[in-house]
């Protein structure tokens, strides 16, 4: 699974992207966020407030209960500020 981080989430986590094995028992976006939070202080800090984290799976916005599978591209980022 490919993970992408943008804007201040990337700055806090310290990397822009990585490839990880889908952990056993992680089947939804929400479960993935819970797993990521436990990976280190940068992750915990970046993901502390889930209300300011947006998630896209395969470049489509999804809710927390969206299923994820091996091979997905999962992007985490703050609310967008374009225009």
């Amino acid at each position: 699974m490919k993970l992408l981080y943008f804007a201040w989430l990337r700055a806090k986590i310290g990397i822009a992207e990585e490839t990880v094995e889908l952990p056993a028992g992680v089947a939804t976006v929400g479960a993935l966020l819970d797993w990521l939070k436990r990976r280190g202080p940068g992750f915990a800090d970046a993901l502390r407030d889930a209300s300011v984290v947006r998630v896209a799976v395969n470049q489509t916005y999804v809710p927390w209960d969206h299923p994820i599978k091996a091979g997905d591209e999962v992007a985490l980022f703050p609310p967008v500020t374009g225009g």
Partner: protein, 150 residues
């Protein structure tokens, strides 16, 4: 048509290209977003626009398709820049062309509202007190929601 690019754009040339030889067009509306020189009482030295390559193009194309479905447009164009931009520089261009002005005005406003709240761009401002990520504004969400209520 949508474009995501680092380079600047020429508004007049884009309008000309979009409308030349199109007798069905009776009205053209354009919106140009530029970098402000100050925000929240602080001076802005420059801002860097980050985006999600691939998803940005996909989202902008979806937003354009939605506008074309809602209004009888002859054509539409969205250009959004990324990278480091200084105050006064152009960020975004939206052009809508229709037989009559109302569709062009409404569709242009719709496109700008939607790309502000949907397109995956983030702004990092350079201020005298250091770099600062621009936060999403509730007023932008409200502006987008009014199109849903209709």
């Amino acid at each position: 048509m949508i474009r995501v690019q680092r380079e600047d754009f020429d508004v007049g040339a884009e309008i000309e290209r979009l409308s030349r030889g199109r007798p069905g067009i009776g009205g053209i509306v354009s919106f140009v977003g530029v970098v402000r020189g100050a925000a929240g009482g602080e001076q802005i030295g420059a801002m860097t626009l980050e985006h999600y390559p691939g998803m940005t193009e996909k989202l902008l194309a979806e937003i354009e398709a939605e506008a074309r479905q809602r209004w009888p447009l002859e054509d539409a164009l969205v250009i959004h820049r990324y990278g480091r931009l200084e105050p006064g520089e152009r960020i975004v261009l939206v052009i809508t062309a229709a037989a009559h002005r109302q569709a062009a005005f409404e569709a242009c406003e719709f496109l700008v509202d939607w790309l502000k709240t949907k397109a995956p761009f983030w702004k990092l401002e350079e201020t005298p007190s250091g770099p600062r990520w621009v936060e999403a504004r509730a007023s932008d969400d409200q502006a987008t929601k009014r199109w849903v209520a209709e």
